[in-house]
Amino acid sequence: MNGRSRLHAIIGCGRFGGHLAGHLARKDYDVVVIDADERAFDKLPLQFGGFRVTGDATRMETLRQAGVERAAVAVVATRDDNVNMMVAQVVRRVLGVPRVIARVFDPAREALYHGLEVETICPTLVAASECFALLAKPETARRSAS
């Protein structure tokens, strides 16, 4: 088996990162989770079978220790947009991970990524568009859907 093809690196083990890591591990992907705070790993499911690395992901030393350069996919979702923007670029352009997805809360900052080979998810815009979609539905349709 090609080790590169199955490893998923999740950087930032908050509610989103922890949930995603647990989900991927259940799907039998190799998963490594990085967070600066060891207590963050409490958010992983009890039976989580992946690796946990405690450290600051803005440091190459931490990324190397976690073997991120071997990953097929990296998802960067710490609570800090600036950290996510830096780490995503380092992982994509310095370590050469083929697919990198970064979470960025602030739509104004997210624009920076255009042309930087990093895919982004902006929860603010996602939630807003979900909200618009709900509002567009007639009330009766919502009632019957629930």
């Binding site: 803005t58 440091r59 947009d81 600036n82 923007m85 830096m86 780490v87």
Partner: protein, 223 residues
Amino acid sequence: MTKLRVLLAAEGQLAYFLGRSLVARGARVTVIHPDREECVALARRLEASVIHGDPTDPRVLDEAGAGGADLVLALTAADERNLAICQHARRRFGVARALAGVSDPENEDVFRRLGIDAFSPIRFVTCLVEQRADFGSIASLMPVASGAVNVADVRLAPDAPACGAKIRDLDLPPGALVGCILRGDRPVVPGGDTELTAGDHLLVIATPDRQRAALLRLTGEPA
């Protein structure tokens, strides 16, 4: 000549002292600082514009006039913030020059690979310490022209090979010369016949690649 417009993101005393130093050199300075009270204090003490806000926020950079800046200096305490500031400045506002300070020396190279000029104060100081450790006779060393040339102040010990030698017989490598001799309190502009004696301070001007060989010939160090 129009004034150089500098946008400075820094905290604590650095914001004040660097801001003051840039103003004294004729720059038009704008400081961005996240703390409101610090902003008030800076505005009182500095002949500079002070903008309160998060310098990593593109809206704040816009308000601070990033679009018209010649140079952006990102010297906050966090490497990722400095990268964000420089990238917004370069990519969004088209600023010609942006420089990021880094705490982790390894990020100096990482930032350059991401297209952002960076420098590590730790690497800079370590470099100075190393050069002093190698040559105990160097009293001070000053890089000039971004490190293209070094000026070293070298004291000749009594056992130095250059003691008693004439300048023309020193056989210094090309790219190195003795620019001035301080003998006691007296400066001596050396000619070919000038003889060096113990206790002389030599101002040695050399390119970095020749400096080691030049100092070795003069002082005999490192042993």
